[in-house]
Symmetry: D3
């Protein structure tokens, strides 16, 4: 059940086909997951999102790919995004996350969620020492 | 401004002093940040929290210390915890996070927040392929 | 699956029937969606909620009905409310939201979610110029 | 710093004065906290909110006043509402919440936040036994 | 559909069996709900979580068991945790929460969510009187 | 207090100067608000964010500029982003939002937040009629 109409004929639109082809080439697989298939209801939005996700997640950068996937899982879990929890946990496993690492990821997310709540409750003032200096 | 009374004399309570001493020994610094100082209003809660944070964040585990701090930042930012954003960003910098890594962390958090919102909006069904198999 | 018992006989309760009749008259349809059917487990709560939703959403006010539905969708998506994302997206479409407008709505929600995360991360101080003056 | 203009002359508006007078009578104090003072920028919104808060929080109901305040704190903390954490913690203390009870409240909020995150991460299916039966 | 593999043979692991036995003894029932069954993918995480939940929720403390369950529900609902809303509403009912109390709980959660949003919108400054004094 | 170092000399970097110049030209003002000044700690991130915000918010699209600003406020308030609540409320006012419209915006955000919480609590099943048809 979704709020947009998925279409089996999405790739008849050349803009959609171009994005799907780039997803397949970038990921080295024929599989296109539902997020992109449903986003095809609006080709410009599909193009923008894929360009961003490819740039952030599939391009070498200061953080390694597995660390980025685990950070993605952490945000998705905190935002209660069911789809994203599934897709990015699967992606993290595909990039080498073991069960032990996943348990550790959950442990950090759990403890962070707990202390976030306590600090939002106690409203403790931020220590001056945490201030970034002005350059 | 806070919802509990901090006390300059907290360490006169031996349970509080024992926790503060362990924080100092674990972190190799005399500095005790406000979170612990304010939690001292209830010594058992202080003990429980420190035991948990020490076990999760200051004990070798499947993920390295810097990765854990960045995951902590990701959760804290998503939960809009001002104190935690400050304290864990400072901790991540102390463990080696450069400006380039921080920008990359923010980039992943930002894109994850955006796609989380889109998927919570479109309500796309989870692909069967993301299901963990039963062992 | 729900946490309250829906009842096929809800309208045997005159308070419930009165609310359902007013929903039908206000919306010019016989259809009562599940939210109201399940809320009928507590007739006073049903009455209060319908009075509020009718006053806010089905009464002429400073904002037009479609704008109000799109704002409702934006809040519901951000709160990860699956039911509300479905019901208010459907309501917005019924009030004239096209696919292009929906894509634009998602685009704004997505970019707002992303910059919200960045600002909750960077903890940038609010510019003085944004302060509302005292009258 | 706020997004609306507070006014020192708010009570010159008779609708505002009527609400403020009822707040004073209901709470048996001359003090009007900022929430109501700032809401006075729109007298109808002020009236609606006060009517609702008075009905829910200052009227005898199935739950006792202190329990209701602690539930209010739990929601406010989870929503990262700084003002509400302060005002409702103060209200709960005024209704008898001791430091021990506050520590226990924080303990439950913390553990709930942690397990919420884990379940939003693991995406565990809901047990059939938790389903409310249909009446 | 979940992100970890549940196992029908989980109790062949003695650490898992010990936790499950303690859950059964503490709750005086043979039933083990899915949260614990799925957490068994990592026995240390299962042990830590059960120890915490048992200490916070199944041990006499300053707040009574039903109040703690309702606070748990309030946090879970605010965090949009589907599983937790189901499991802790069921637990609260088992501890005596009537339909009238549940409606009241929902009323407080609803009004708190609404005023939280308004205050996060208006950014009203916290009154000095809500500041906890320093001891 | 922030987690990055703002720099008074940011515009000595030509990439930063180019973005700031484009902000000034697009907005027809010399004023650069803090978000962009602090983002300058990482020029590529600054460029990406400005390109996105300009494309979404300062380019004609299916929704009018004021509607987009109010949707931005709705998301920002729900995410408890203090800075964004201030900056986008100011932007909406600059684009014509009156006090009456702002009160109505707050009213819709408030009622949506309340019903979101109730539906995340009651876990009401989504009506089949809300399903988007497949094209």
């Amino acid at each position: 059940m979704s709020t947009v109409k998925p279409s089996a004929k999405a790739e008849e639109n050349p803009r959609v086909k171009a994005v799907f082809d780039d997803i397949r080439a970038t990921r080295k697989t024929d599989f296109i997951n539902n997020f992109w298939r449903y986003l095809a209801f609006d080709p410009p939005l599909l193009e923008e999102l894929w360009r961003e996700v490819k740039a952030v997640m599939a391009t070498p950068s200061a953080l390694d790919p597995l660390t980025k996937e685990m950070i993605y899982v952490a945000v998705s879990v905190t935002n209660a995004c069911r789809y994203c929890a599934h897709s990015h946990t699967a992606a993290a496993r595909a990039k080498g996350m073991t069960d032990e690492m996943y348990a550790d990821l959950m442990r950090v997310i759990g403890t962070a969620s707990k202390t976030n709540a306590l600090l939002n409750g106690l409203q403790v003032p931020v220590d001056d020492v945490f201030e970034a200096e002005t350059s």
